[in-house]
Amino acid sequence: MRKIFRYSLIIMLFHMMAGIVLAQEITISGNVTSAEEGVLLPGVNIVIKGTTIGSVTDLDGHYSINAPGNAVLEFSFIGFEKQEISVSNRINIDVILSEEQFELQEVVVTALGIKREKKALGYSVQEVDGASLEKAKEPNVISSLTGRVAGLVIYNKTGLYESPEFFLRGSHPLIVVNGIPNPPYEVNGTMHYADLWDISSDDIENITVLKGTTASALYGSIGKDGAIMITTKKGTKDERGFEVTFNSSTMFEAGFVAIPEVQSKYGTGYGGKYWYKDGKGGGIQDGSGWIWGPELDKRDSTTASGYAEIAQYDSPIDSLTGERIPTPWISRGKNNLRNFLEQGFITTNNLSISSSNEKGDYRISLTHLFQNGMVPNTKLNSVTLSLAGGYNLGKRLRAEATWSYNKQFTPNYPRRGYGPQNYVYNLLLWMGTDVDVRDLRDYWQPGLEGIQQRHYNYTWYNNPYFTAYENLQSYYKDVNSGQITLTYDFNKNLSFKLRSGLNWYGLMSEIKTPKSMILYTDPTDGNYEMTTEKNFNLNTDAYLEYNKTWNEKWELNVTAGGNNRWEEKNYLWAKTAGLNVPGFYNISNSTGDVTAENNLRQKKVNSVYGTLGFSFRKALFFGITGRNDWSSALPVKHNSYFYPSFSLSTVISELIKMPKAIPFFKLRGSWAQVSNDLSVYSTIPVYNDDVNWNSNASVYFPGSKLNPDIKPETSKTLELGSDIRFVANRIGLDVTYYHTIDVNDIIYFPVSEASGYYSKLINANKYKREGWEVVLNATPVKIENSLTWDVNFNWSRHRRILLELPEGINDMNGVKIGDRMDLMRGWVFNRSASGEIIYEGGLPTWDPFIKKLGYDDPDWTFGISNTFKYKFVTLNILFDGRYGGVIWCQTIRKMYWGGSHPNTVTKYREDELNGLATYIGDGVTIVSGEVIYNAEGDIISDTREYEPNATQVYWSDWCQYYYHDVSDEAVTFDASYIKLRELTLTFDLPNKWLTHLSINRASVSFIGRNLWMLSYIKYIDPDEGRDDLQTPSSRNIGFNINLTF
């Protein structure tokens, strides 16, 4: 007995073991049909899970496969939900596959942090995931959005610490962080908009762009032009409940996509002459600073060096005569700009710890950004500490809070603008290549350290190393922002939310001007000026939210609440009048009277608002909002304004049976009205401080007439859009059209100066803003476990047109009714009826009436992002561009004027140096007759007869006249461009390398930003939108490491 038992056991064990290790293979077969229609499905993939062994259903939907009896089979087919079925030793298994239910379940964060399903929204919203901002970092996070959002146009700047300018549908959007808005404010007539220097892109969970008026009607008038809502990361979603992340990006400047070049055939001087004596005009043209001087590198057999020799600033002085001994006049400084600029790089490092469980979650993150500027002695540091936490205080009450502290500090960042404080002015425009900038590195005159700079020109220019190391512009800013949100759920339908947030910053900035620094008119005694600012915004919202569903068909949501906003700004500026002790920068070190100014601005806005939303069968959505603001910036008698909005959207694919290829089709429409107040203190006229003459103070009365009856300005927007998904969500197309009418615009309308005033503040004009936005998402290739290719394409067009003017006015600054508001006017050449330039005395003449040059804004903009993913490699390529618009280029204009532009080297220039005037301008001269204009500039009669211009002039006279003195036309160019904005190649490191390092996930990426550009203008990057002596536009290449523990 025992033996049989033993044998049975062994056989049972054997079977069990066999079952585990070597289960018997059986043949399984069956049919696969579709659930909805009952049809047999050919081409269905069947795979034994955990292996690569598989089969396919035949044309009759029948399959057959050999597999172990305990295997699991996976059935998959495009458009259908995958199924896993355990064989369990069955030999006949029929499978029914269900069609993939396309649920647009995306939830987006809308105004006030209210979450809504995207399909319920009647207005246009676009999201950018924080992950796409993770690898290739720009110093300012807004730049990373370039080309990613239709309707958001960003003008990136090339210089260190220059804030990008960004526009949403042509206007400045509101920045909201974690539900707390950061409103713009005005200082001395200039509007300051929130910059995003204090936000680390490593802290960003996602960015939602609420594009139109409707979207942000809930923020009130500050949200009139849309909002960019940034949500920061909170506690981790990692299933382990704990996550530590380290992310590091470093990029180096690797060449330039746009950098000006200068000619090196002719050097400093004027009229082909130069002889240095004192740099102040005591020699020959040694003070005037032009680059129309003698020819460089000219051979001369009579001199010792073999080259023509001229007295220069560093020529040795003959001890007997006291005169300079001429030295070879050669192009020592051919590469001055590139030799001067240093290696720029930017590195961003972030460490974050986050944790979550059922009761609460938290996240702590520390980011450090360091950018080394290309201009010597310039740098930027930014450190951000972010804390976020949430805790359930009870079953019904939850508290969430975020706080972030950011410190931006730089002891020196480059000075901008056209003038001798800017290194581009001193080095690129006005330094001939006879001077090697590297020779100027010792910038003090021996024995006069701290008192007198050493340079080759002491009238107009500064030694670029002198300004880089001694003229310092510093900036120290501490930003604190945080908010606390309390949510109390009364029951599953009703909740109350209280959110209070503040944004507080303190800043100090200084400008240290050393002795002997040349500015346009200041005496050269040095100076110190400092500004301190304290800014405090407090924003509180309290509202009730009610949601209820009936019959699973009808849904209602209602919110009702109020908001209080307080803005306060304190400002103090002081400046010395000459320095006593050189190099000692303190207000107390002033030789003359210190000038100072202080300013306080306060504003309060209170509001009540409510929203009502209905939906039917999750297919038809209807919403209403209403808000009333009371603003202290408006006159008390009409400081209250109300504005409503309506929206309707329908998911047609839920209501009507759509073809299988179009699983989702939604139409949306909305209408909203928003009113807006104006800057504080604009209704009561005041006197401004003016010149103090010998201790006599004086004031002046501003020439802009204020208006105590000013009313709020109002915008009414109609937006229509459609959202279609094709081919099982492989293609998604979102098209939006918007049309806004702005009325009662609060503007300073120009008036005749003879009235005493030059403008008056009125409600006037009617504008139309309209445009199109197209967002296309597609996945052209999607091969399981192999290659995926995603494309995201954005395109937008925006126009702002003048519709109405006040009675009796024909135009506003040249813009007539029907014209685009971004019209640019300027001085153009005087031309004959057939378009030829009219010359007089061999030089071009200009039209006495100002004319249209073009438009400032582009015609349309686009961005296209391609992501290729193959196993563990991801490649992302982003292109973006703008088409249309013009840009007036100061750099190019001055290069022609100064003689440094490569195009100024012609045979005519050579002739001029030989005393010959040989250039004949291409145009005509008037032989007889005259033109008569009416007062408006229209030609009433034109009897002019022409002949081709035949007067020879000196080349430099013509060049200076044509490009600089006469017209703006010659230096206004088409601003269109296309850029390869970003390229990232990411390798996700395989798990097996990581496990023994206890790293959960890791990736290494090669990154590049601003890699390549195609445009119409040489030397200048049109991305900036303007050229006021741009810093060269650099290409940045580097790498990123991302580790998750």
């Binding site: 009229g271 002459k273 043209q285 005037s288 205080l393 009870g394 508290a399 107009w460 209280l498 346009y520 008119t521 005496p523 407090l538 509180t540 309290a542 307080w566 009048a577 300013n599 504003k603 202290s632 006159p635 008390v636 504080v680 209704t683 009561i684 006229p685 006197y687 010149v691 103090n692 003459w693 010998n694 004086s698 004031v699 009365f701 020439g703 007439k705 120009p750 008036v751 005749s752 100066e753 003879a754 009235s755 005493g756 030059y758 008056k760 009796g808 024909n810 600054n813 005395g841 003449t845 006495p848 008569i932 204009y933 009416n934 007062a935 408006e936 430099s956 006279d957 006249y961 003195d965």
Partner: protein, 488 residues
């Protein structure tokens, strides 16, 4: 209950900003009312700074060498209505003074109105006057008055200003020109009135203006109409070495390296052996290089460049031959230099001489002619024995046959970098001296007679400016148009 406490704490935060709305509409940083003296200082700075390098180019005192200046090539087109902006400040000063019946400020206001309106009408022709500066009444598109009506108004306001000024009507504060001296203000107002009357010399026969009689009225009644009696009376702004108070072209780069004397002007001075040459100019580079002892005080060390030549030709002279006297360095390296004369005493003497010459008053032409020259010499620091020698020079000694030319030429020589565009208007009126032209001169080689109306007026006040252009210049606003004051 702990929860309710938390909620209440947060509501407390909401109470921030409990200031009421009324208070928050007021700007805490700036005053809504001021004493008129605070406006007076600013107005005076803007009125008495009459140093114009552009006028110097146009009137052939100086030449620009860093390219072309349209002031020099006569290629200008439009000018601006900036004078009305200053008059807004004047309007406010008169308004603030009216609140406390401080009539002296109102009187000064009338003078400033007359001064700036004169400048503007001489620039353009017809300008807004009766409807001007009434933006507070809602008049934003003022009508253009005829130049004749404008001058009638200007003369009326000057008469009223003189009458109104009185010691008893309150002390004048903030006065950086005369420090509240009522008598000196009267002298300025009446001396300026004489300038205006003389500028209407082509309208001697006009009965509404009655210029000759009005001139005589002022000149013969010094008790009622005091006028300047010496340099200390003249209307000038004194500079100070403080930020924003310095001589206007102090440290100006173009004045340092690209501004040279004009040949015809230097020739006029050299021909008369005029010692003011050494105060206006520096020796030419070729004289400096030769370095003969005492060359700085030798007339042959000085010369000029050509206002009508191409820049390259002038540069050739400068660089190849070392010709061309630079501007005297005191103008750009001395922060205080000399005061800016707006209405000068030498000019007054020349005006009296010319009025006597025209028979408007009974006076000795030569006496006032010599007084004018002497006064100008003294202003520029020339020693009195040198002045006497100068007055006996053959071209300077009074010659009745060439009286007008002599008077105007001497007035021209005294106007170097002072009195704004007066030398230009005098040349337009009398033809003296001849302004040289050449190949670089635009406008067909003609000296322009005016400036075109501002582009802003076309944009913002079209119907009215069009009406003015139509009735004066047959609808063609151009710089050669002959305005009413230039017609006989």
């Amino acid at each position: 209950m702990k929860n309710i406490k938390l909620i209440l704490i947060f509501f407390a935060l909401v109470c921030f900003g409990c200031e009421n709305y009324e208070t928050l509409t007021k700007d805490p940083n700036k005053p809504t009312e001021v004493h008129p003296s605070l406006l007076l200082t600013n107005i005076e700075v803007n009125t008495f700074k009459e140093i114009s390098v552009n006028a110097a180019f146009a009137c052939r005192y100086l030449v620009f060498t860093d390219g072309y200046s349209t002031s020099q090539t006569y290629g200008w087109q439009r000018a601006g209505f900036g004078g009305y902006s200053t008059l807004l400040q004047v309007y406010k000063m008169m308004e603030e003074a009216g609140k406390d019946n401080l009539d002296n400020y109102i009187a000064l206001g009338k003078f400033f109105r007359a001064y700036h309106l004169t400048q503007m009408t001489l620039t353009f022709g017809d300008i807004p006057y009766s409807e001007a500066l009434r933006g507070d009444e809602g008049i934003y598109k003022p009508r253009y008055d005829t130049q004749e009506d404008v001058f009638i108004g200007i003369l009326q306001e000057l008469t009223e200003a003189n009458e109104m000024l009185d010691e008893s009507k309150g002390k004048i504060g903030g006065d950086i020109i005369y420090n509240g001296d009522i008598l000196k203000w009267k002298k300025l107002i009446n001396s300026f009135k004489l300038r205006v009357l003389l500028s209407l010399s082509a309208k001697e026969g006009n009965a509404d203006l009655n210029v000759a009689a009005k001139f005589r009225e002022v000149y013969e009644n010094p008790a009622v109409y005091p006028i300047f009696t010496g340099l200390s009376d003249q209307g000038q702004l004194v500079f100070v070495d403080r930020d924003d108070n310095r001589y206007p072209i102090f440290h100006d780069k173009f004045s340092t390296t690209a501004t040279y004397m004009e040949r015809t002007f230097v020739d006029l001075l050299k021909a008369r052996r005029d010692p003011r040459l050494f105060r206006y100019a520096s020796p030419e580079r070729r004289a400096v290089e030769v370095g003969q002892p005492g060359y700085q005080n030798s007339y042959s060390s000085y010369g000029g460049l050509d206002a009508g030549a191409y820049v390259s030709d002038n540069l050739d002279k400068l660089t190849e031959r070392g010709e061309g006297s630079p501007l005297n360095p005191r103008y750009h390296s001395d922060p205080v230099n000399e005061p800016s004369i707006a209405v000068g005493y030498p000019e007054l003497e020349f005006n009296i001489a010319e009025a006597a010459l025209r028979g408007w008053i009974t006076a000795d032409v030569s006496e006032h002619y010599y007084k004018g020259i002497r006064a100008s010499m003294e202003f520029f620091g020339v020693a009195s024995d040198k002045i006497n020698t100068y007055l006996n020079g053959s071209l300077v000694v009074y010659d009745e046959a060439k009286a007008l030319e002599q008077i105007i030429t001497q007035k021209y020589l005294s106007f170097f970098l002072n009195s704004g565009w007066e030398p230009f208007y005098n040349q337009r009126r009398t033809g003296f001296p001849v302004f040289v032209v050449g190949p670089s001169t635009q406008n067909g080689g003609q000296v322009p007679k005016r400036w075109m109306y501002p582009q802003d007026e076309l944009d913002n006040n079209f119907e009215n400016v069009k009406e003015a252009i139509d009735r004066q210049y047959e609808g063609n606003d151009n710089i050669n148009g002959v305005m009413w004051i230039c017609n006989n």
